[in-house]
Symmetry: C2
Subunit: 366 residues, 2 copies
């Protein structure tokens, strides 16, 4: 997890949460959608996933809102469903709210049918992929979420396929959660690229250089200058180090999010340029939830998870390292610390919030 | 995919298939299990996945058989099931046959309920993970398979967690398939480590050195000597390059294969050493299959897959590269070539087969 290298103020989580929710309300979103948005963003900021938290309020969500890209009063709806599945439409709405709606639908089907899967198109940026499986694990369900975008004609920023010189995917993350007994819930959340793109933007803002192997310029040359890096490599990096696996995972995410939900509908017919007509420029999501007792009693499973985690903790360490972590553990400890100390707000985010507070007439939380 | 750098003979696929099946029959396996075993191994060898094909007949399957590890007459059975799921027991039998049985069960549930998921314990090495999703895609189902092993007390060979000095996982691969229209089926199959362990063994046998970044010695030191490398790093390599993601994927595979199927049963009770009692030393598997029409009409989806693949093919290439591949494509082309030319049999495999042919009284295929 990235911690901001410096920050301007520490703000109590409750007050920051209230501020963010009020901003979305004053921005014109329905109360339920504003509440969802604040929940998703504050989840990330409480847990140290700063790439996906409150830093994105202005540069992603309010910029899209003010540009008229977002439908502020969307009708999230089901286009096709079975007891175990749904294809859903985000109606060009706020991804943070569409995502919560989609995950809740998957969870409802899981409670009724054992498993529920939802593939949703026509949505926007849904924040931290981990939030949705974390919702499922609150009800002791196994949860899965992914969000994908494919640029049928290539894009300036994103992730190229192995041997490719142009971005074809977004960083297409995937996340899965497993319930535990006494250990923090296991919540694994990864971009299928080496790093998420926001990490590079944050390091650029902080005046830092990035490690070799993360990214390349628009023409495919390796670079450590975050201002110049346009493409993030797939997880694994180059072909020899397994980058084709990150590319394969990015493709899998896109198929489940963008293709199952309706991508390239009706465009085939031997047209070699069919890809230019790709009809899903927005984000697609995939959500799944299923019950542990489809396989074995929940209590036994949770005890097994704890035992596995203890075995990993107890395993021998490389010299220079005194802990082995499991997914969700650092975030859990960060959350405890930040609920005590407050959430760090960087200079850039501070300035963004001053600007938005004035524009939308919301009292600042400091 | 690895092509053998040299081989001793090229053998027609049909004759090699018959030879391998006869070996398993004479080894004492039931005819249906011998047929499954030959199907899985020849799938890999036809498609150039030489790490997981006929090279393993002696060093994995017959060595385990002759050591008395394998139950030659297993009763694969369901321990718990619902219309969408099953926990199954491989009865210490041949993983190649147990895997086929488990995947067929998942597919049968998918045909009846839309989706089927099977978590199976007490099995052995099941060959190439991709074979099972490939079975599903023959019936136009989306298929998933994973195989996992966790070493609760650490192991000499395998994959360490990030910051760990001892192997805790096997290379825990995962695979997924998607049906296509005119393009070869999309079959993605990856170890969650940088490379599968067999790749290192093959390069050792061929007298080659391995690239930096793949593995470390038993005490955690980086090495390019395949004779000395005991641990393969998780996909991504070190922490900075995203190795914690490969570690997270390995953990996910283990939970779905080893924990859902019953791992660490009844061993909790605040015993800090509970991990020593881990009761699933063998391989666990996870299989899933689901119908595309849970979400959208199959024909539309397949046309979309073809359009996506064409878009990836058409995207700009890095200099020095004239093609961009999608998963399963190189294997598909290799299969066409090898069905025409024959399957390459290396010196080591040739000698293994001469030995086995004599011991089990089976005619050599050359």
């Amino acid at each position: 997890m990235s911690q901001p290298s410096s920050y301007k103020v520490l703000v109590p989580a409750d007050e920051l949460h209230q501020f963010v929710e009020s901003l979305f309300l004053k921005g014109g979103f329905a109360p339920a959608h504003a509440a969802d948005a604040a929940n998703v963003l504050m989840y990330a900021s409480r847990r140290g996933v700063d790439t996906h938290g409150i830093r994105n309020v202005l540069p992603i969500y309010f910029r899209q809102l003010e540009a008229g890209q977002l439908n502020v009063a969307p009708n999230f709806h089901i286009e096709h469903e079975t007891p175990v599945s749904a294809r859903a439409n985000g109606d060009s709405g706020l991804g943070l709210a569409a995502g919560c709606w989609g995950m809740r639908l998957a969870m409802q089907k899981a409670r009724q049918s054992g498993i529920g899967m939802v593939s949703m198109h026509n949505s926007y940026h849904y924040g931290a992929a981990g939030y949705y499986p974390w919702l499922a694990v609150q009800e002791e369900l196994i949860g899965i979420s992914m969000t994908g975008r494919i640029y049928a004609g290539g894009a300036e920023y994103g992730v190229p396929p192995t041997f490719g010189a142009k971005a074809m995917f977004s960083t297409n993350p995937l996340s899965i959660s497993f319930p535990t007994q006494n250990e923090p819930p296991y919540v694994f959340d990864m971009a299928t690229s080496v790093v998420p793109f926001n990490r590079i933007t944050m390091m650029r803002d902080a005046g830092q250089s990035i490690p070799p192997g993360w990214g390349v310029t628009a023409d495919g040359s390796p670079s450590t200058d975050p201002g110049e890096v346009a493409q993030v490599l797939p997880l694994g990096g180059n072909r020899e180090q397994g980058g084709h696996k990150g590319y394969g995972l990015a493709t899998m995410v896109t198929v489940l999010c963008n293709l199952l939900s309706g991508g390239w509908a009706g465009l085939y017919d031997n047209d070699p340029q069919a890809f230019e007509g790709f009809k899903l420029p927005n984000d697609g999501h995939f959500f799944a939830a299923f019950r542990v007792d489809l396989f074995r009693p929940l209590a036994e499973f949770k005890e097994g998870m704890d035992a596995m985690i203890r075995a990993l903790h107890a395993s021998p360490k490389l010299s220079g390292h005194d802990r082995i972590y499991v997914a969700g553990e650092i975030e859990h400890e960060t959350e405890i610390q930040r609920l005590h100390d407050g959430i760090p707000v960087t200079e850039t985010v501070f300035d963004n919030f001053v600007e938005l507070a004035e524009r939308y007439d919301v009292a600042l939380p400091w």
